[in-house]
Symmetry: C2
Amino acid sequence: MATIHDVAHLAGVSKSLVSRYLNDQKGVSPESTLKIIAAIKELNYRPNGIARSLVLQKTHTIGIVVDDLCATFIFRLIEGLERGAEDFDVDEKYNIIFCNSNGDVQRKQRHLNFLMNGRVDGIVLYGSLVYDDTMIQQLVHSNFPLMLIENDIEGTDVNKVVIDNIGGAFMATEHLINLGHRRIAHIGGNMNLKITLDRMNGYVRALQRYNVPVDQSLIIFPDFSDVDEWKKRDEFMSQNLYFDRGYVEMKKLIEKNQVPEAIFFATDLSAFGAIKAMNEVGLRVPEDVSVIGFDDEFRAAGSFNCKPVTTMMQPLKQAGYVGIQKLVYSLGHPHAAKERILLNTELVVRESTCANKRLASAEQDTRV
Amino acid sequence: MATIHDVAHLAGVSKSLVSRYLNDQKGVSPESTLKIIAAIKELNYRPNGIARSLVLQKTHTIGIVVDDLCATFIFRLIEGLERGAEDFDVDEKYNIIFCNSNGDVQRKQRHLNFLMNGRVDGIVLYGSLVYDDTMIQQLVHSNFPLMLIENDIEGTDVNKVVIDNIGGAFMATEHLINLGHRRIAHIGGNMNLKITLDRMNGYVRALQRYNVPVDQSLIIFPDFSDVDEWKKRDEFMSQNLYFDRGYVEMKKLIEKNQVPEAIFFATDLSAFGAIKAMNEVGLRVPEDVSVIGFDDEFRAAGSFNCKPVTTMMQPLKQAGYVGIQKLVYSLGHPHAAKERILLNTELVVRESTCANKRLASAEQDTRV
DNA sequence: GTGCGACGTCATGGATGGTTGCCATGGACG
DNA sequence: CGTCCATGGCAACCATCCATGACGTCGCAC
């Protein structure tokens, strides 16, 4: 591989002059320019970014660490991140590189070390596993430029974009209550995720707010203890797992003859699974059971022959966009105050929720 | 940020001794070791990977460039790549970083330049757009360590893993022919992808091989000229596009009253869309129309309330695994011969194909 | 007892491929 | 003749690795 030294030698100038040419600095005569161009071409020279980063103490790169790059709604985050980076600096765009930990803590730590060893100027971390906390704390204390997305770790001064899961779950439950439902179940997600707890929290708060008694038997957390086993399968996708858990828990409710009037699911995927279980025994959605999900999985919109599902949309694209812009900004302004940016979810009403039968017939009564 | 120099200074030794300690080399006395450890801890020192890479001329990193990181079957590739890298070198695992071009050629070029400027030891490139050819050719000629996956560029000496799309399409069509179908349509994908042409090719060859006349009106290529417009949409996913195209083309066939006995789709997603269109008018799959797809989209297996679809499985995980292992191997053996590794697809029979009605009734006749 | 080589430990300094501040040169111009 | 500016070279620097050799100790053979 040719170096700047080779180019300078061939062109008959000093390497500092070649460097100036490469960086569009003035003070390079037309003749020198021509000679340098010819030399570069002949040697097929390309500047070594590593050496450049070393001396400039700047990589112009942001690393993204994600637990599950294959989660289907991640595409929104990715798109937001890339657009955000491109819009921030039109002249010299930041490079974005992804690392996928696949939920493996060791792999995640390895990726973080790798990136922090000078590979990138800043890191965006998406997701929040409960057992990650120590690692994240260390990360924060290392003072490395950081942006947490969907990880509302407490008691630390750090940039983060958080999505109001409690509020979203509140709104979802409120929506069901407003439709006249009272026996409302909640089928949660993996309890190792903080968002899972938040969503349950919002559910409970909504019930309390509207004086609906909280029935512990209607708060269901599927067993995720066999996750590691699932991961060893040849074709693991977390989505299949969530789908399966929704299906299994719904079957249980059916067998125990405890089907509620409405269900708030912590993830759309579990809702899909549950709908499948209900279809199998002739339960109709939403006529018999109203169903609301969370995430706005793109399938929720009704593609692929699934029933369009009412859900809470997460503004993940916006989160990526805002997050990376704030991060890049803070690279240029090291003393800028850290921020906690809160984004709200949005209720998307589709076809899986409707007014409660009791309410509907009561209304009819009054009309007649 | 503390440097090795600071550590050496604080520990009262030379920086080369610190370096020896860091690299587990012998020749560091116990006392020195203790002093160095203390200094590292006190300064919160972490070695600078950039400087390290510069002097070692080695980054221990592989870059992956993908056109569409969000395509749903990519997860197989990712898993294959990571497992392959981890299995190859257990002691010091290669780092893997992803770059997502999102089908944007400029972005792709930018990513490639970035990676080739010394950021990584080798590059894995997945996918093959027709208009990429010049770029890939240049890349190959640059002699940078490279592994192409699903890009069977011709006339070049380069490592690649290719999947036998022609053979797969042949088998898919053969499957339909064996079921007694004669009027078999083909609905293709985006003609900017080479695999699209290969799949059509295999379809035609199978028809010819079994003396089924090729009917040009049954070879349908949806219009993808508005892709760029779709991409500008807020929530673009290529999968929605393919679904839509299958739906639209199927509607056309229905309206023109030209519904065939069987259809071979270049992608499962288009098959899903077409099935939706058929459902809407009461056409049954497979009783009225047999449908076979390609890719083995994980939804094809019947999750999410879709009908389980017969399809050709792409061994993408294997492709990633084999590909990165060969690449890493060739980094250690610069003169190893380049290879073209061919992987075969596999027919997965599910519920969207069945014997032709004619055939079925004929069989019954003979039985009676 | 002495000379010599082996060995453990460590510092020095050059190398990796760039960038940049400073200074030298030389021609134009007032 | 003094000043200014365009041009371009020198050398230090970024953080690390490593080849070389210095230095002292020790064992062994003569």
